[in-house]
Amino acid sequence: MSTTTASATPTAPAAPAKQRDTRRRRRLSQWGFIAPAVVFMLLFFGYPLVRNVVMSFQDFSPSTFFDGKSPFNGTDNWSKVFHDDLFGKALWHTIVFTIGSLVGQFGIGLALAVFFTKKFPLNGFLRSLILLPWLVPMVVSGIVWRRILDQDTGVLNSFADTLGLGGHTPWLTSPGMALFSVILVNIWIGIPFNMVILYGGLQEIPKELYEAASLDGASAWRTFRSITLPLLKPVITVVLVLGFMSTVKILDLILALTDGGPADSTQTLGTLTYQNSFVQLDFGAGAVVGNVLILISAVFAVFYLRANRSEGK
């Protein structure tokens, strides 16, 4: 060790180098905090995205997992999937299911959110209990509803019967009816989430604006349209986009309610991916449908980011 009082000239160039060294070491230890998460997300989100594209050009068969053979087969999977009527049906069902669910969840969620901005006794208590349906595992909700909607012994039909409204509606067993019923159940599941977020958004709107509006004699509808909706718009965008992303890919609920039936009338892109890959063990066809699903989500994500940017943040 040389003493620190030694000539300044030799240490001067060494100091920045040493500094650079410690800074690099600090950088490295900082990356240590982030690296595990980055690696994890690359493995569990990045890798599947890439792998699905590759898989969609490979031939998988039930024997693949014994002999490990999955040769490339060009665009065979793609043309097979696109020529199957079921794909078109599933795409259509996905669109109907997503739009129907979102409209219902959002509409009722917003109405309830507005309702709960009133001050009344037990407001907070009731508002928190409404969350319960959202927290129950989705498969479990699906199974409970399957019992409720049972054509012969379900409570909904016996209730309708008592009211003299028929009471033999084949909610889940008729191909013309099943998708509608599945949408109804999904609306029920989604209402709490929409309500809570929209309620939060409503609380952010300054009260003075409403006071001013009521001084100006604006009607309730006018106030809602000219103050509430425009100021709530960023929150509305978030709710709809998050709702879209979680609805378009739904699987649990449909499997629990109908398994995609009857006669494929509730088959969506999500269930079709599952059926192809995990029931028929044709992972190539499953990957094709999965890629279409990703593509739809991605297009929506772009819209979302655009909207966010124009919002200024």
Binding site: I34, F44, L255
Partner: protein, 279 residues
Amino acid sequence: MATVSEATATTAPKRRWGATVAGVVILCVMLFPLYWMINTALQPESGLLEVSPVPHSLDLSGFTSAISEQGGHLLTSLAVALGAVVICLAIAAPAAYGLAQFRLPGTKSIVFGTLITQMVPGIVIANALYSAYVDLGLVNSYFGLMLADASLGIPFAIVLMRSFMVAIPKEVIEAAEVDGASKVRTFVQVVLPMSRNSLITAGLFSFLYAWSDFMFALTLNTTDDVKPVTLGIYQYIGAHVGDWGSVMAASVLSAIPAAVLLVLAQKYIAAGITGGSVK
């Protein structure tokens, strides 16, 4: 009705209770399916017949058979969900801190990437993960399912905790480091205690995500070795369509964590729903 006049002006108490009544009605409609789940569970003798609106007697045989058939699966769910929470927090908390406080190049893209992961459909992940899991021997393993379930919570946990950790004043962290604490010690002894609430919220949600998981359980298991209760119930109705009493009893048991957490940790749940989505 303008919401304001209600909030500011003093309204007649009668009208305010009217809103409470409306609220109770709404709640009853929303919670009816859950009531029906409990009601059906208490009438195991009804089988495939119509279930009466209220149970005539307290018949708990549905619950005893549910526990004997699904008890093991409930424990599996618990073990997998707890494991997923540990993995999730161990990975997400340091990352959230790093992304919030270190000014590293690429931070923005990583945060952006984290947000984007939420749009990747789970079934697509499962599709690719399955063959990788086969190669790695992770199919039908607790650890494999814990890892997959942790992926449900990690992006959310990072985004949520980061938004809290951004608010920790630089001076606090610098003070700890001046005192000679290492990066890791500063993180464990200063940052984590200060972010306690967001840590609890992230942990709760990753628990609920993992507990509710059905898709990874369905796709990444080919035998009965690792069967969480969601999968257990699903397969059970496929096999015994008549025995609704015990299916519903099992459903009630599987809904208990959600109900307990809602009562005990209400403020964290509310914070999580708004914090994780709006930020």
